[in-house]
């Protein structure tokens, strides 16, 4: 398999072969990021593709570093591009809440070392995030998961810092409440 620096250099040269390798290697990673923001699996795939188009069109601007750092830099950049693409898409929908549940077929198993219970737990926790209202979900994802500050979030979403904080607070409250409900359901099952 090609070395990541080699792939990056190929993508900087806008070469078809290396762009395809990079796309196929990081498609799953990108989808996991976007899915947290987008709620709908099919929509998330579209957004991922939009993100890749932007990524490849701007790849000549990529500042290549040392071999061991290049993958991290690429990850960070890819993540940022995918988050921005998700936010753009959410803005198009004016952050309107989605209707309907998440179908079961979208879930898969990524880590064979995790047991089935843990997989279910992860799935339910992610579902809790995804089912948050778009405004809360976006702020929670940006702050709690992706590590952005309130100042950065306010700039990205074009909202006041106070709004960002309050949205985060409400998102956490909703999540706590939903976790408790989830625990009750799980206890009942037992």
């Amino acid at each position: 398999m090609d070395n990541i620096t080699h792939i990056i250099k190929g993508c900087i040269r806008q070469e078809y072969k290396y762009q395809k390798i990079l796309y196929e290697r990081y498609l799953g990673f990108a989808l996991k990021i976007v899915f947290r923001y987008m709620y709908r699996y099919e929509k998330a795939i579209d957004v991922v593709h939009d993100g890749f188009v932007k990524l490849f069109n701007h790849f000549p601007n990529f500042k290549i570093g040392k071999d061991e750092e290049n993958e991290k830099i690429l990850f960070a950049w890819l993540k940022k591009v995918m988050i921005n693409a998700s936010i753009d898409e959410l803005r198009k929908g004016q952050m309107m809440p989605e209707i309907g549940g998440i179908p079961e077929f979208v879930w898969g198993i990524t880590d064979i070392h995790n047991d089935a219970d843990q997989q279910v737990l992860y799935k339910e926790l992610v579902t809790l995030i995804v089912e948050l209202p778009p405004a809360y979900r976006t702020v929670f994802n940006l702050y709690a998961i992706d590590g952005y500050s309130h100042a950065e979030i306010s700039e990205m979403l074009n909202i006041p810092v106070g709004t960002s904080k309050s949205n985060l607070s409400r998102a956490r409250m909703m999540l706590q409440k939903n976790i408790k409900e989830l625990e009750k359901v799980n206890l009942c099952r037992i």
């Binding site: 040269r13 709690a144 999540l175």
Partner: protein, 438 residues
């Protein structure tokens, strides 16, 4: 509270890190079409497009410019042509009517053998109509004759108006089995004959004419009238000599060595039309050619190691001999192909060799080379179009290329050391005008 939030965030962070999603099917082909600056594997067409873009643009310009000029010519003639077409159509309708009438009259004659033989009389003083469009007001018996003055009548370019007293053409006309003698016609000039057949490329005479003998109208029997053969009026000319002037850009290339500069040629063209399809052509052209050779190619060919590149210019006189074949013959013009040979005489080359920077020894980097041979130097192949701009003249556009034959005959240049010669290929476009000689 702060710790609780952090624990909650950690929990979700862990879940987000570990959760699994259904694998996505790669849609790379769909995606790649949206990437603007993607570098795909280059196709041959892309390579040709990028490498020869300038030349292709020049070629397109050269081809399109004459076409634009030619297409504007009908607009300039617009009113007259439109009018004459309408008149032609009206006249043709009239002839059909007349033919029917003649047939009817003949039938009547056959049914009434005792009756006086039906005759078609033409009175010289009687002006049937001044313009063909006025035919609708004519009396049926007089429809066959048009006696307007030639200058009053417009006619289509595919029709032929025989001018007053144009006896040369009339000498050919046969009426049934009878033949109108030259003397009779000379003493009795025909006012005019209209001839048209819009569906054909050439004009034909019709069986309508008015002849006068001693100031009296000449009588034509209907049986003769019926059998009047259609006579070709010699337009366009099927046989004969023609001369022309031709010029155009000329591209000269040594095998895959690229082009630096465009040359040109111009000269006199002479031809003979054998029949509707075939012609033989020759000519005398002055050509100025420029060619270029990379140092690597020249060094390998000449067995040297000092050349960085080579630039040559050539003056020569070209004498082609080609056979031209009209693939498509239309009233407006002909598409043709031509093939033949060319000899180059008085070939004078000036060759400049750019020497590599690393070479310090004095090397003669400039030399002249000349050859004169009447032997054929090239095979010529061309494909072109001739647009008729009058009764006898054509404008032609003819892209061509020339493949070198044996060397030392003006199709190559010699290397200094090895004594070998490098073949030179030519291509270009001839744009010119030609005219039949009466």
């Amino acid at each position: 509270m702060q710790d609780l939030n952090e624990d909650l965030d950690d929990l979700f962070r862990h879940a987000v890190d570990k959760f699994g999603l259904k694998p996505v099917v790669s849609k790379w082909d769909e995606l790649s079409g949206r990437i603007i600056s993607i570098k795909r594997p280059r196709s041959l067409a892309d390579t040709i497009r990028s490498k020869y873009r300038k030349w292709m643009m020049l070629l397109a310009l050269i081809i399109l410019l004459p076409i634009a000029i030619l297409s504007l010519m009908p607009v300039i003639k617009g009113y007259k042509t439109t009018k004459s077409k309408a008149q032609g159509a009206a006249l043709q309708t009239e002839i059909k009517k007349n033919t029917n009438e003649i047939a009817n009259q003949k039938t009547n004659t056959e049914h009434n053998p005792g009756s006086k033989m039906q005759e078609l009389l033409v009175k010289p003083s009687e002006k049937t109509f001044d313009k063909p469009s006025e035919t609708s007001s004519m009396k049926p018996a007089m429809k066959t004759v048009v006696t307007a003055a030639p200058e009053d009548i417009d006619y289509h370019k595919n029709e032929r108006l025989i001018p007053e007293k144009n006896l040369a053409v009339l000498q050919r006309i046969e009426i049934g089995s009878a033949f109108i003698s030259e003397a009779a016609i000379k003493s009795n000039p025909v006012v005019q004959i209209h001839s048209y057949d819009l569906g054909l490329e050439a004009a034909y005479s019709i069986n309508t004419l008015s002849l006068f003998e001693n100031g009296e109208p000449l009588t034509l029997h209907l049986s003769h009238q019926k059998n009047l053969p259609l006579q070709h009026l010699d337009y366009p000319r099927r046989q004969g000599f023609y001369l022309g002037l031709v010029a155009g850009p000329m591209l000269t290339q040594v095998k895959h060595q690229g082009l630096k500069k465009s040359g040109f040629d111009f000269g006199l063209l002479a031809g003979y039309t054998l029949n509707k399809k075939f012609s033989i052509e020759t000519g005398l052209f002055y050509t100025k050619q420029y060619y270029y050779v990379t140092g690597k190619y020249y060094n390998e060919f000449a067995g040297v190691n000092y050349a960085a590149s080579l630039e040559g210019s050539r003056n020569a006189i070209e004498m082609p001999l080609t056979l031209k074949y009209n693939i498509i013959c239309k009233p407006a013009g002909n598409f043709f192909i031509a093939a033949g040979i060319s000899s180059y005489v008085g070939v004078s080359d000036k060759i400049l060799i750019h020497v590599m920077d690393s070479v310090h020894i004095p090397i003669p980097n400039h030399f002249d080379y000349g050859v004169t041979s009447l032997l054929p130097s090239y095979i010529n192949i061309s494909l072109g179009y001739e647009y008729k701009i009058g009764k006898f003249a054509n404008i032609r556009i003819e892209p061509y290329f020339q493949i070198p034959l044996n060397s030392n005959t003006g199709n190559s240049f010699k290397t200094q050391n090895s004594g070998g010669s490098i073949p030179v290929f030519n291509s270009g476009i001839h744009i010119g005008i030609s005219r039949f000689i009466r």
